[in-house]
Symmetry: C2
Subunit: 480 residues, 2 copies
């Protein structure tokens, strides 16, 4: 055993260096590895398993609301990307370009998709002819490329995994409903599965998706009080449909352009999970998404019957539908405790000779560290209740962080003072709607607009920059 002895590598303390803490968690919990291309990461089994669970949960919700999955090519001819003016301006500067196929230079270069609106429009033009062909409710699971200059695991990759929904509707009303339906599905998923409270709102024109009429967002607050844009849902009107000449014959026998939406979330959410819930001991995973919900660890496993008793608990948990594993390796229990804590496993079940005598086992929860003893007969119900309780507690802690660090201010100077006084957070002000004032906030305070929250106060007040009387509430913050 000596030659393989290994201590859990120390993780930088979260409040000493948050960025280093984050990188430590990503690599030491074996979520990610670096590849030889800058900004392109390897999703390791534990990190990918989180994504698989996210996919399963979201895919179910997409299908329940009538969406179908498709797969479109990864390459976009340059002329196709250029069909919608705002869109190409937004994405062309960060595309990776294929110029050679086999041994021949291509007649027209192609980019690897940074997003697939143009490809979907080309396909929709082929298959939409009548109002009977609508709505089209498509989704695609894939990876996309954006040739970013800086990168961080999960938060900013040159290649990342995501889903992109693309839908076409007969009317503006239906398309607007879809835009909000998907935003609400994202919000519900993040709160009820990832235990991440969200702020729902609309992006300013400066921050919206290039080519969209309106972009809606779910914004989350990380432990360091910075914002993470965790998902977006876009309403396109008929702009792309016009650019791509997509029409359908309505029940009125006239030609119309369909109305379009798109919406997406990515592996960036895994970065959000880490930065929302993690602590100095490493990762803390929300139970509903954790690849391992319960780790069973026998204590004094050389004693007769201990390993069998632990295996029995494992079988019972698995039979109850819990994602449970056991560690019967020859490492010391203390090493194992630290290892699975670092990897964020929500519940540890311990059993040793003394527990067996008493007909009990020990449940240790990752979020609070608290230990309780439960009679063996109550294992399944106790674990199920504990997993639920952990979810709710994690959500409550994240919500407390969001609430405690969301402030109100009236002038840009107040915004600045507030953020300095609290080392970050979200600040709510009024906004006149002018781009100049939005840019001034970046310039004077160093914040960007996160969103105009869907829940507006309805009062009027003054723009913090120009002082003009206005009604719109807006949230400012520093974002990842």
């Amino acid at each position: 055993m000596a030659q393989d002895k290994r201590q859990v590598d120390a993780i930088t303390a979260r409040d000493v260096d948050f960025a280093q803490w984050y990188t430590d968690v990503c690599t030491k919990a074996e979520l990610i590895d670096y590849s030889s291309i800058k900004g392109m990461f390897i999703y390791r089994p534990y990190g990918y398993a989180i994504w698989e669970n996210i996919q399963k949960e979201l895919d179910k919700r997409f299908k329940e609301t009538g969406h179908e999955n498709v797969y479109l090519p990864m390459l976009i001819p340059e002329s196709l990307l250029q069909k919608e003016k705002d869109h190409v301006e937004g994405f062309a500067p960060e595309c990776a370009w294929v110029t050679v196929g086999g041994s021949e230079k291509l007649e027209e270069r192609c980019c690897i998709r940074p997003t697939s609106e143009t490809l979907f429009c080309e396909h929709y033009k082929n298959i939409i002819h009548s109002h009977r062909d609508l709505p089209k409710l498509y989704n695609q699971w894939c990876s996309v490329l954006r040739w970013e200059k800086t990168s961080r695991p999960f938060l900013r990759h040159r290649e990342f995994l995501w889903q992109e929904g693309h839908t076409m509707h007969a009317t503006e009303e239906e398309a607007r409903e879809e835009t909000m339906r998907m935003l609400n599905i994202y919000a519900d998923f993040m709160e009820n599965v990832l235990a991440m409270p969200v702020l729902k709102g609309r992006k300013t024109d400066k921050e919206k998706f290039k080519g969209a009429e309106e972009t809606y967002t779910v914004e989350c607050m990380m432990h360091d009080k910075k914002a993470l844009q965790a998902g977006t849902s876009h309403y396109f009107g008929d702009g792309f449909a016009r650019a791509f000449d997509i029409t359908f014959t309505g029940s009125d026998n006239q030609l119309h352009h369909p109305h379009q939406t798109s919406w997406g979330v990515s592996t960036r959410m895994i970065g959000g999970i880490i930065m929302t819930h993690g602590d100095d001991n490493g990762l803390v995973l929300p139970p509903r998404i954790a690849p391992i919900q319960v780790i069973v660890i026998p204590v004094a496993q050389h004693k007769p019957g201990v390993t069998d008793a632990a295996q029995d608990l494992l079988s019972r948990l698995q039979a109850a539908g819990v994602r449970a594993k056991i560690d019967v390796s020859d490492k010391a229990p203390g090493w194992k405790f630290a290892e699975y804590e670092m990897r964020g496993v929500p519940v540890r079940v311990e059993i040793g000779p003394k527990d067996m005598e008493k007909g009990q086992c020990c449940l240790a929860r990752r979020d609070t560290g608290e230990k309780t003893f439960v009679p063996l007969a109550e294992l399944e119900s106790a674990v199920a209740a504990l997993l639920d309780d952990i979810h709710h507690n994690m959500y409550a802690m994240a919500k407390a962080n969001l609430d405690a660090n969301t402030f109100q201010a009236e002038t840009w100077e107040e915004v600045k003072e507030t953020l300095e006084a609290h080392s970050g957070g979200f600040v709510r002000t009024k906004w006149c709607g002018d781009l100049a004032c939005e840019l001034a906030m970046k310039d004077k305070v160093g914040v960007s607009s996160r969103c105009m929250p869907l829940e507006q106060s309805g009062t009027t007040g003054k723009c913090p920059v120009c002082g003009k009387e206005c009604a719109t509430d807006i949230i400012w913050g520093v974002a990842y």
Copy 2:
């Protein structure tokens, strides 16, 4: 209704023009659409749903045998691809190359992965150090690019969806076991889920994967008596490990190179399903993979209670875990029957006023066209039994085609005559092992070696080309 009236588009007869029949089925059953880039196809909802069912079934089998999913970058730097000599020679000529990222020319160009051995090796070098790190049993679901000159839906795409398993083992024996384990999982899956009988064998050196020591294959016979290579499993020895300098400390405290495998199947299997089972009325889907297993169609649905009765059957089937749908649109029943036949739905359930009176419904099976009436109370058990029976019948029909068109011959002239007499098929001969004789068969007969079957006769005989006495059985055929 008149304006939307549409007949099911005619499909070219299978025996008139098999290639056109195939394309008709792919497009008219809405499995696939063309994109603006030659050879890059769009997987439409119905085609993609077949792939999702394939993924679900295979992924379960992979995980049950200890494999974990990962995701590696889609780009390979040219120098990385070049590390293994045979491998780069095999793949470089058909790579798509990224030369520009953002607005800058890349210092080193990257290809989009045609397969990921090199990327896995780079990663394995980082994470394999001790015998305790072995085995590594990884799989990846992704798309790959091969810049082919010709293309056909599902059979030959420039971009196609697949899974690629990549494993590392401490010993040759373990790696060889893994190679065969995965081959057998593929064979079992194809036979018991896709209803496609397979021929298992080893590829000749000419036909093996570039860089592998040995390639094993599952070959299937299509309705037109051509072969489809439906899946491969490769044993690499430690060739890549040496090229990439991957070592581990064994329990003997010495440095060793691990032994490697890779294995893959792709959406090409969907082409195999179509060409194995389809008929003049279109697609015939194996029940265990069909996105819609049962379509419920009310007859005379304007009569009181009919639609409700049909809905009730739908609910019961769905509750019993059957993938069932209903069509209550205003199209005529005859149109619906033809449409779902063309789309290959295994079972149609009809119910009309007369059936309701008699307390029965009608089950029509797609494979034989046979109709039976069953008492409503027996719906679930009758449908379950019928789906099973359809699977077995489809397998038996495909097996009969394989057996009836597999021949034996002794000389190349006999091979030629046999294939001409039967318009195709597989021919089994002896083979001396010489590349020259294998090439001569291509030249003189127009066939390639499909595989050396795992089940060898154990007898000796003469090579059909050079006449040398030899023991190896080999199968020749024309392949997709």
